[in-house]
């Protein structure tokens, strides 16, 4: 299991056919930012070649499931299951574009206003009609101070959600160019059902009610969700009769794949890849994840407020060795987000140039330089510190152990301590109570290219107003750059430049030592083909991307 999400602390990720497109088609889709697209067709998910014949049942393994079958508890890969039952207004496509779904069209008349036109004639599984009030209720659960939604941080800019005829109007308190992605990750549930079930909504005996292509039929918290085809679905007929999604530990997953009981596995554990590649009936594919393994240094208190100490440590981390050896061929990272994030937003050559410059800013692996930096710091004799890791992501420990060897050579002694997830999240994210040095796998919660920079570098994300700025990094210049970017439309090319500026600042000030960009692996039985696998597979309607081979 893995914690995931917004700050996804985990090992997963991905890309897609050929490379990066996380973002690519996005711009096309929202073309003009204020794009209103009308479409009578249902979601037009690309389907791979193949017979397109129906699949009776599919047993899959997923990295994570919620403790409640509800949209308030669905983040990261959990959405890959919940969005099949409780579908969103707009659908994120494998090519990065957004397609109309429960909203047959939408427009953005101003930077702070979105209007969605609700599709008519859609019904929940129980036959009751979908109304604008359901959408308002489904949005409102994430808004406000008393919300219990794990997605609340995406909704802080929302001031008001209201219905106007068959339209839903969302007013923002401040511009949020990535808001449309928030809509794409937000499932719609029945408000009436929710009211009737009260606080038992989403529990195993109650489940939840949506309009999606699959309806929930069983749920074991954190372990298993069973879905069955919704025969009355308004859109394209769902291609799979039954989906069994389960969270399996590594050994069980391997056995399940070997015995043929698992048809597809999302986010395979990197540490076990060799076992999976040796199976003849199981095909693996991988894409770069929209995530980064990074060391975090709390810069507003000793000892890591000393930039020379930070630089010394950065020089002591052998990224190449870690990316190659520990992470099985991941790419070494010299900044906080992978270059693929910029695909579609900037020409490849420009991105490469900018990343070459970012690489120059990041202290390279060089123990002599590390010693020199340490000598200039307030701690010429080195320091001793502890780094917390958790078992659910074995890479955290492996990376830290490798880095600790280099650090020990210059006098920075690192003890690695394994703790449970709760303890880790508390210390690293929520309370920022580590010794000052920590490691995490931080994943983008959405495809926007400012998602990771904003979460990790904006001073607003330091407690008490946020927590993902784990380094407590505060820079007026960075805040200003991020504010400027938020006043631009999501497809404005200047946002990419601003994102690069922010990353440059982070490279100079060094609150983080990025280590590697992991890949995300998908394994599928050879009797099936999966097209368009990407880092945000959990936002896609992925069953439409699977076809049975002849």
């Amino acid at each position: 299991m893995t914690i995931f999400n917004e700050p996804r602390v985990n090992r997963r990720q991905a890309l897609a056919v050929g490379g990066a497109f996380t973002l690519s088609g996005l711009l096309a889709a929202c073309g003009g930012g204020s794009s209103g697209q009308a479409s009578d067709a249902g979601p037009a998910t690309a389907v791979a070649g193949g017979s397109g014949k129906q699949i009776d049942a599919l047993s899959i393994s997923v990295p994570q499931l919620g403790d409640l079958l509800h949209t308030t508890r669905a983040v990261g890969p959990i959405l890959g299951i919940t969005l099949l039952g409780m579908e969103p207004l707009v659908l994120y496509q494998p090519d990065g574009s957004l397609a109309p779904n429960l909203a047959e069209s939408w427009e953005q008349p101003s930077l702070t206003r979105y209007v969605f036109k609700l599709r008519r004639g859609v019904r929940f599984w129980d036959g009751s009609p979908l109304t604008p009030a359901d959408v308002v209720a489904s949005f409102d659960v994430h808004v406000g101070r008393s919300t219990e939604s794990a997605s609340a941080s995406y909704w802080t800019s929302v001031e008001r959600v209201s219905a106007r005829g068959d339209e839903i109007v969302v007013e923002l308190a401040a511009p949020d160019p990535a808001f449309i992605y928030t809509v794409a990750r937000t499932g719609i549930f029945s408000a009436a059902f929710a009211r009737r079930r009260g606080d038992k909504l989403g529990s195993p005996s109650v489940l939840n009610l949506g309009t999606g292509p699959y309806r929930f039929t069983a749920f074991t918290p954190l372990s298993r969700v069973r879905l069955e085809r919704n025969d009355g679905y308004w859109g394209r007929a769902p291609p799979i009769g039954r989906i069994d999604a389960q969270v399996l530990n590594q050994d069980t997953l391997l056995l399940g794949v070997q015995s043929g009981e698992v048809d597809a596995a999302f986010a395979l554990p990197v540490s076990q890849l060799k076992s999976f590649t040796s199976l003849p009936d199981f095909a693996l594919q991988n894409v770069p994840d929209a995530a980064v393994y990074k060391f975090n240094m709390v810069v507003d208190r000793a000892p890591w407020d000393d930039v020379h100490l930070r630089r010394a440590f950065a020089h002591a981390v052998d990224r190449e060795a870690i990316a190659r050896g520990v992470l099985n061929g991941a790419d070494p990272a010299t900044t906080l987000e992978p270059p693929t994030t910029f695909d579609g937003a900037l020409p490849r050559s420009e991105v490469d140039e900018a990343y070459a410059e970012l690489a120059q800013l990041m202290p390279a692996y060089d123990l002599d330089k590390a010693r020199q930096e340490l000598a200039q710091s307030r701690y010429p004799d080195g320091i001793k510190t502890e780094v917390l890791v958790m078992a659910s992501d074995p890479n955290l420990s492996a990376i830290t152990q490798t880095a600790a060897q280099g650090a020990a050579e210059i006098g920075i002694k690192i003890d690695v301590r394994e703790v449970d997830e709760n303890t880790y999240i508390n210390a690293v994210y929520l309370r920022h109570t580590t010794d000052g040095l920590s490691i995490d796998n931080f994943g983008a919660g959405g495809p926007d290219l400012l998602n990771i920079p904003d979460l990790t570098l904006n001073s607003r994300n330091i407690p008490p107003t946020g927590f993902t700025n784990v380094a407590n990094y505060e820079s007026a210049a960075v805040d200003e750059l991020l504010a400027r970017a938020s006043r631009l439309r999501v497809d404005d090319a200047r946002r990419a430049q601003l994102a690069l500026d922010v990353l440059r600042r982070a490279g100079e000030d060094l609150p983080y030592v990025p280590v590697a960009f992991p890949k995300v692996y998908l394994g599928v039985k050879r009797e099936y083909a999966y097209a368009g696998f990407n880092a945000f597979w959990w936002l896609n309607r992925w069953p439409d991307q699977i076809v049975a081979q002849d």
Partner: protein, 321 residues
């Protein structure tokens, strides 16, 4: 009169049992509150905002004095109301009930198999002590007992699940037949792990008893072997066998937890592990109390069986009364 003695004995033991459960509940309660991280995260999700967490703490009464929180828990628990899970909103008893549908057959069937196979083989090998059958049986049982349960599980899974495709390798299954199919390998794992202990105590005791004078006399009187073993030998060996049964059944509960993990079974053990990770206080308290109550009950039953098996215990108790 002896009924009276047993009643008094029972009353004493029940009082002790209640005391044990109280102590367990206090210790568990304190341990949960000492651990870093609070249940508000279970309710708010991993990445709830600080404001949300504060709201949730307040709404769950987690900022109240510990004594007050404990008293609230205890007064509800007396009425068998453990509240609802903070994370899943499910009533704790419902969650335990669901877990027991997996764990109860797992532990009980394994226990019955261990008792049957263990005593049968123990008696048989005691009669053939030193022979090749004895050595082979005891050796095999020891191998089973010394292999860690998860290794046994992996071997069984590889052979019967992956190679032969006879049985499923994970999951709980729905309906009686599917559930039974899913439980075959977990039960086999526990049985293999536990049988040696039963075999060994039975073999040792039966062998001892076989050498005692009363058995020799019984033989001399021409009583049948079956009669001697049934009425004389096993009854005399019974106290030790029953005692060992108690420890085995308690052991099965903790081995079961491991086995549930290996086989991906959603039993009580898994429920507890997840609850501990989420600091889901009501579930942790509910499950630990149920497990503690089970263990206390097992001990009580073992004590009562002494009365039934050994007249000396009854006489001794009466003399003291």
């Amino acid at each position: 009169m002896s009924g009276n003695v047993i009643a008094r004995f029972l009353a004493r033991r029940l009082a002790a049992a209640v005391l044990v459960l109280l102590v367990v509940s206090v210790v568990v309660f304190l341990l949960i509150h000492l651990a870093p991280g609070g249940p508000e995260q279970a309710a708010g999700g991993e990445f709830a905002t600080p404001q949300q967490l504060a709201n949730i703490r307040a709404s769950l009464g987690l900022d109240d004095p510990l004594a007050e929180q404990y008293w609230r828990f205890l007064s509800n628990a007396v009425g068998l109301d453990f509240g609802s899970s903070i994370a899943t909103r499910e009533p704790v008893l419902d969650a335990i009930g669901r877990g027991l549908q997996v764990t109860a057959p797992l532990v009980l069937v394994s226990f019955l198999l261990i008792c049957t196979i263990g005593t049968a083989l123990g008696t048989l090998t005691a009669h053939r002590a030193g022979g090749s059958l004895d050595r082979a049986t005891v050796g095999l049982a020891l191998v089973g007992a010394s292999a860690p349960a998860f290794v046994t599980a992996l071997i069984l899974l590889t052979v019967f699940g992956v190679q032969l495709h006879w049985l499923p390798v994970f999951g709980t299954g729905e309906g009686f037949a599917e559930r039974a199919r899913h439980l075959v390998l977990p039960i086999a794992t526990l049985t293999i792990a536990g049988t040696a202990a039963m075999l060994q105590i039975t073999r040792t005791r039966v062998k001892e008893v076989l050498g005692e004078d009363h058995v020799t006399f019984a033989r001399a009187r021409g009583l049948s072997s079956r009669y001697i073993v049934g009425r004389s030998v096993l009854r005399n060996a019974g106290i030790q066998i029953v005692t060992r049964s108690g420890t085995i059944v308690v052991g099965l509960v903790s081995w079961g937890l491991l086995v549930e993990t290996t086989f991906g079974l959603d039993g009580v053990g898994q429920l507890l592990v997840k609850a501990i990770n989420a600091r889901d206080i009501p579930v942790i308290q509910g499950v630990t109390l149920v497990i503690a109550a089970f263990i206390v009950t097992v001990n009580l039953v073992v004590d009562l069986l002494y009365f039934a098996l050994d007249p000396r215990v009854r006489v001794h108790a009466e003399a003291r009364a």
